[in-house]
Symmetry: none
Subunit: 203 residues, 4 copies
DNA sequence: AATGAATGAGATTTCATTCAT
DNA sequence: AATGAATGAAATCTCATTCAT
C-alpha cells in the first residue's frame, strides 16, 4: 500500500487543495469516526473532486498517514524545543516545558488526537511515523537520564503512555483548562519518577 | 445503527454458536484489527454460517458492542471484588487488589483490551457501556474517598486513564511480566495520589 | 414450485395452526405489504414455529395461493348463489344480487382484496385459481346472455374489471357504506350495459 | 426507506446511464414482475455497473418510485392537455380527448401500467406521487363540474378507477385495438355519468 | 406434530480507485 | 490540473427452506 503523498503541491492553488483534503479528513474523523471516513466524502467536504484527491494522495491511508506524520512531527519539534537547553537549566524547568508541550499538543484537538492515537495503534504504520515516535521517546529518555534516573527508556515509555492516557481522558471529558491539567500532569510525572517533593494532591 | 443482540440464545446449541461468534470476532480483532473484521470472516472463524451470525447479531457493530459489554462487565466485577472489603482492610491492601485487577485484566489479552478502548473511534458507545464505565470509575472513586482523598471523581478518572495508558503501552511492547508491571503501576498510583513512601524507582 | 398445501389438517389443533398461518399472512399483507411478507414473520405472527408452517405449506407461494383460492372460491359461490334463480326472476333482481355479492365481497377487507388482486395479477397463478376466475366470469356472462346482451364474454370481463376497479378505489379511500357503493355500482353496470332507465347521477 | 434519486444527472453521459437504468427496470418489471426485479439485473440489462446504479438511486425502491413519478407526471400532462380548452369546446369533445388520453396512456405499455398501479402493494407511496394522483383526479373533477355534474370529486374517482380497471383488463387480455377500447370506454363513462344518448352496446 | 437452530444462495449496498474528458 | 462518471470487488444482510431433536 502506497502511503506517501503522490506529489507535493507547489502552486498556491494546489497547496490549498492539498491542505483542504487533510483538514476535511481530520474534521470527518472527529465528527463521525473512522467508519464514516471515505475518500468520496473527504473530497466532498474538502470541496475538491475525487479525481483531484487522488492527484495528491495515492490512497486513503496516505491521507491518514500524512495527518499523523504532521502531528507527530509537530510534537517531536515541540519536545525538542522543550529539551533544547536542558543541559543548562534545572530539571524542574525542563520537565515543566515538556509537560506543557504534551498538554498543549493533546488538548488542542483532543478528539483528533485520540483518533490519531487509535490509527497509530491499529493501522500498519509507515516507517517514518515509527521513527518519529521513537525519536520522541528517545528525547524524553535522554531528559530522564539527564535527570539522574536509571532505566530511562522504560520510564519514558511508561510516562509518556500514562500522560497520554490521562490527558486523553481529560480531553474527551471536555476539560479545556490547560493549567489545571498541567498541574495534575506534573503530579503524575513527579510522583511516578520519584522526583522532588510532589505536593500532596489537593493541597 | 442496531447494536443490541437480536436474541439471546437459550438452547445449549445456540449458546455455543453465540459464544463462538464473539470469540471469533475477538480473535480477528486481535490478529488483524478492526479493518479486517467482517461478518463473513467472523462466521467462518466461528464455524457457523453467515445466516446463523445474523440470527443473533443484527450487525457487525452489535458483535463489537457485546464484546465490550462483557469485557467491561467483567472489569466492573473484578473492581467490585477488589473493593468489597475495603472498609475492613487497610488502604494499601485494597489498592494492591485494585491494581492487580487492572493489570490482570488488561494483560490477559493486551491487544484486545487496546482495541476495545478505542472502540468508540469506530462505534457509537451505547448507554449501557457508558454506564458500566461510570460504575467502574465510581467504585474507584469510592475507594479514593475512603482513602481520605479529596476530589475523588477526578482523581479516579485520571488514575484509571493513566494506568490504562501505561499498561496498554507495556502490553503492546510485549511485556508479559505481571509482577513487574504491577510494581510500576503501584508507583504510578501511589505517586500520583501522594500515598505513602513511594520507593524510588529502580530500587 | 409447489403451491399446493402439503397436507390438509385433520386434528383440531392442526386446523387451528393451519388457519392461523393463513390469517397471519393476510394480516401482514394488509398491514405491511408484500415485501414484508416472509415465512419467518408469518410463523411468528401465527404463533407457530417455522417448522410447523412448513409442515402444512411447501412454500411461501403456497400460502398466498391458498388465501387466493379461498377468497376466489367464496366469490364464485356468492356469484353462483346470486344467479341461481336467474331464469325465474327478472334481470333487475339478479343484477342487484350480483352487485351486492361483488360489493360485499370486496368491501369486507378492502386492502386484502387489493393485495390479492395484485398477487393474482403478478404472481404465477396456479391452474385452479385461473379456473375459478374463469368460472366467475363465465357465470356473469351467462347472466348477461340471459339478459339479452350480445358479446357477453367481453361485456362480462369489462364489467367485472370496471366494478372491481371502482369498488377497490372506494375501499382504499376508506368508504365503508355498502349501500352507497351499491347504488353507484348499479349505475356503472346499468350505464355500461345500456340496461333500463339509469337514473341520472345525483338524483 | 430512501426513495428519492441520489442525484440528478447533468452530464450527457450520466443522463444516458440514468435513463437506461429506468428503462431497464421497466422492461424487467414487464417481462418478469416485481419478484424478479433486482438491482443486479437492472444494472446488467441497463448495461451499467452496479456501482453506477447506486450513484443515482439509493435503493431498488427509488428506481420504482422514479418510474411511477414519471409515468404519473406524463398522465397528468396528458390530462391537462386534454382539458385545456374545455371551456371553449363542448363536453363531448373534451370527454373524447380525456378518454383517448387514458386509453392511450394505459395501452402503450399495458403490463407496465398494471404493475405500477399495484406498486403501492410493494412500495410506500410517497407524497409526490399521491399529489400527482390527486392532481389528475382534480382535473377530471373540474371537467365533470364543467359538464354540469354534482359530486364531481366522487364521480371522478369512481370513473377513473373503473376505466383503469377495464382498460387494464383489456390490456392484460392482449387487446391492442385502441379504437375499440375507446368505444367501450366511452360507453362506460357516458353510461356512468348519465351523459347523452349512450348508444346500446353492440350497435 | 412441533420446534427452532442452522443454512447459504442471492440480494443489497458501499467505497476505493480509475480514466476519459 | 481538475473533473466526476464509472467501475467492481467485497462487504453487509435477508429469508426461504431444511433437519436434528
Amino acid at each position: 500500500m502506497r502511503i506517501n503523498p503522490r506529489k507535493t503541491p507547489t502552486q498556491a492553488r494546489a497547496r490549498v487543495s492539498y491542505d483542504a483534503i487533510l483538514e476535511a479528513a481530520a474534521r470527518i474523523l472527529v465528527a463521525e469516526g473512522f467508519d464514516r471516513l471515505n475518500t468520496n466524502r473527504v473530497a466532498e467536504v474538502a470541496g475538491v473532486s475525487i479525481g483531484t484527491l487522488y492527484q495528491y494522495f495515492p490512497s486513503k491511508e496516505a491521507i491518514l498517514a500524512e495527518i499523523i506524520r504532521r502531528e507527530r512531527a509537530q510534537l517531536l519539534e515541540d519536545v525538542q524545543t522543550a529539551t533544547r537547553d536542558m543541559a543548562a537549566e534545572d530539571v524542574e524547568t525542563t520537565l515543566e516545558r515538556l509537560l506543557r508541550a504534551a498538554v498543549g499538543h493533546q488538548l488542542r484537538r483532543p478528539k483528533l488526537a485520540r483518533m490519531l492515537e487509535y490509527a497509530d495503534a491499529v493501522l500498519p504504520l509507515e516507517e517514518e511515523t515509527k521513527a518519529l515516535n521513537a525519536a520522541i521517546l528517545q528525547r524524553v529518555a535522554a531528559f530522564l537520564t539527564h535527570a539522574g534516573l536509571e532505566d530511562a527508556d522504560l520510564l519514558a515509555r511508561d510516562l509518556v503512555a500514562a500522560l497520554r492516557g490521562m490527558i486523553d481522558a481529560a480531553g474527551m471529558a471536555g476539560e479545556t483548562d490547560q493549567e489545571a491539567l498541567l498541574l495534575r500532569s506534573g503530579r503524575l510525572a513527579r510522583g511516578y519518577l520519584g522526583l522532588g517533593p510532589s505536593p500532596a494532591v489537593g493541597d
